[in-house]
């Protein structure tokens, strides 16, 4: 048995996992309401995933879509995550029913190019490092603007240190998921951060106002944006909301918690309740705020400074302004932690380096994405984030196809292969979205659209 398999077995046999398993066996036999309440208590990887998804990329996409198209494009994060949820359910199947981590299974059955290289090192580690720059850029500007609301000038270096002081300890605490108790603490911190986002962005909506019929229509009825800018924004939004990094984080979060075959139902519940709901709610609130603030106006915020300043004209209270910036900080810090976790867990799964939390290299692996703190000092990072989100699509479709094949491979899942046509169809629609996003991205780079 490999090191990685031992890791899976270890986390499944931890004291906390054994206790939770007993609780879960009891819960699975209970009626709907007590079962749901129990599931909420045991949930966690879904919230980690939501906190990670809600970052600078998805925020910038929601802001620009809200500012440019009003309520019309609110369907994008909802539909994107709703189809992505089939991939999260597949990740739950892999963790709960599989006998090895998914990257190792990809290596074994499809080759190291699909597993270690495309899924682990490129989509997991390198993308984590690149994306962290955008988080720090937006977070730095949010902190500077938050203090500026009270007339206090804060240098960029101080903003950078504040962000590091929150995200580094949480990232190290989670590490690569060695300690289930520490994992649970970080998961609870993520729940708190999502709560902060909901409260503060809800307060902003209270000030800007909301058109509920337009919001319901925008959420449920898809409408395509027009023009090249609209298409590029659509690609960025689709990939910023859910992609292979989200699947990996959810997958590895379940491994860290010691999920085993009794947990699959909880995993699917967690993907919906902890993932889809908070992501849709927070991004909808952001889109609505900017749709209301920018209704009938020209110009869309494109830099993180402009993003931070965009709403200030319609928010008269300094405290609500500070609250908005606090929400942005919660959004980026939770993503920074998620990126560090994704980087570390993917790195250990993709390489032969032993996962040892006491080794000298462990903090370097966990904190590698924190080099992105340099992003605080960059000028126009929002478009970099959008561009990198679009580039991510290059690797998403490779991993998506490989995961579909594993889901239907009895060598990996035995009798627990995907048994339903509906489940397979959901996975295939996700893959088709990734394929189309990839081709559209290539076409946009080839200059297919007229100027």
């Amino acid at each position: 048995m490999s090191d990685k398999n031992e890791t899976m077995v270890d986390s499944r046999n931890s004291e906390q996992a054994l206790k939770e398993r007993e609780m879960l066996k009891e819960l699975n036999g209970k009626p709907w309401l007590p079962r749901t309440l129990g599931y909420i208590k045991l949930s966690g990887p879904g919230f980690m995933n939501a906190a990670f998804t809600l970052g600078a990329g998805s925020f910038a996409s929601s802001v620009t879509l809200g500012a440019a198209y009003g309520y019309e494009m609110m369907w994008i994060p909802l539909y994107s995550f709703a189809f992505g949820i089939f991939m999260l359910a597949l990740a739950a199947r892999f963790v709960c029913q599989g006998n090895m981590p998914v990257i190792e299974a990809q290596n074994k059955y499809h080759g190291r190019f699909f597993g270690s290289f495309a899924t682990g090192l490129l989509a997991g580690c390198i993308a984590s490092i690149v994306f962290t720059f955008g988080q720090y850029a937006l977070g730095g500007d949010a902190i500077i603007s938050m203090f500026a609301a009270f007339g206090i000038e804060v240098p960029k270096i101080v903003a950078c240190l504040i962000l590091l002081a929150i995200s580094v300890p949480l990232s190290l605490l989670y590490g690569s998921g060695e300690n289930p108790r520490a994992v649970k603490i970080v998961e609870n911190s993520m729940k708190v951060m999502i709560g902060i986002m909901l409260v503060v962005f809800g307060a902003v909506i209270f000030v800007t106002g909301i058109n509920i019929p337009a919001m319901v229509k925008g959420l449920l009825i898809p409408k395509l944006p027009s023009g090249l800018d609209g298409i590029v924004m659509l690609i960025a939004s689709l990939t910023a909301t859910i992609g292979v990094m989200d699947w990996l984080l959810f997958n590895n979060g379940m491994i860290a918690r010691g999920f085993s075959k009794e947990y699959e139902r909880l995993g699917r519940f967690d993907a919906f309740f902890g993932g889809l709901l908070p992501v849709t709610l927070v991004l909808s609130l952001v889109s609505v705020a900017f749709a209301e603030a920018f209704a009938g106006k020209q110009g869309i915020p494109t830099t993180s400074e402009e993003l931070c300043a965009a709403l200030m004209g319609v928010i008269p209270s300094a405290w609500i302004q500070a609250g908005f910036y606090l929400g942005v900080c919660a959004l980026v810090v939770s993503s920074m932690v998620g990126l560090s976790v994704t980087c570390a867990t993917s790195f250990y799964q993709s390489t032969k380096v032993p996962r040892n939390s006491k080794a000298w290299y462990h903090p370097l692996v966990v904190l590698a994405p924190q080099i992105g703190c340099l992003g605080v000092f960059f000028g126009k990072p929002v478009m970099i984030v959008v561009t990198v989100a679009a580039m991510q699509s290059l690797f998403n479709w490779i991993s998506g196809n490989s995961w579909y094949l594993l889901g239907n491979d009895p060598r990996y899942l035995g009798k627990k292969v995907v048994g339903s046509r509906f489940f397979n169809l959901g996975i295939l629609i996700s893959i088709s979205i990734l394929n189309i996003v990839f081709v559209t991205f290539v076409m946009s780079k080839m200059g297919v659209w007229p100027a």
Partner: protein
């Protein structure tokens, strides 16, 4: 006569039927944005777009067949 399960899950040459169908799905998916650009931006024929959509749906129908476990 070979049924759909046999086709999808048995090796034909280098790969299983599912892999060939995934490649077909990718090609049909690629036709959708290419066809859309030709139709809506350059006012050319919609044939590629239609082939892309029909092919995609056909691939979904075939690939969604679950693996038959003995």
């Amino acid at each position: 006569m070979m049924n759909i399960h046999d086709f999808l899950d048995q090796k034909h040459g280098l790969c299983t039927g599912r892999v060939y169908m995934l490649i077909a799905l990718f090609l049909f998916n690629a036709l959708i944005p290419i066809g859309a650009v030709m139709t809506y931006l350059y006012s050319m024929t919609a044939a590629l777009l239609i082939i892309g959509v029909i092919g995609t749906v056909a691939c979904w129908a075939i690939l969604s067949t679950p693996t038959k476990v003995q």
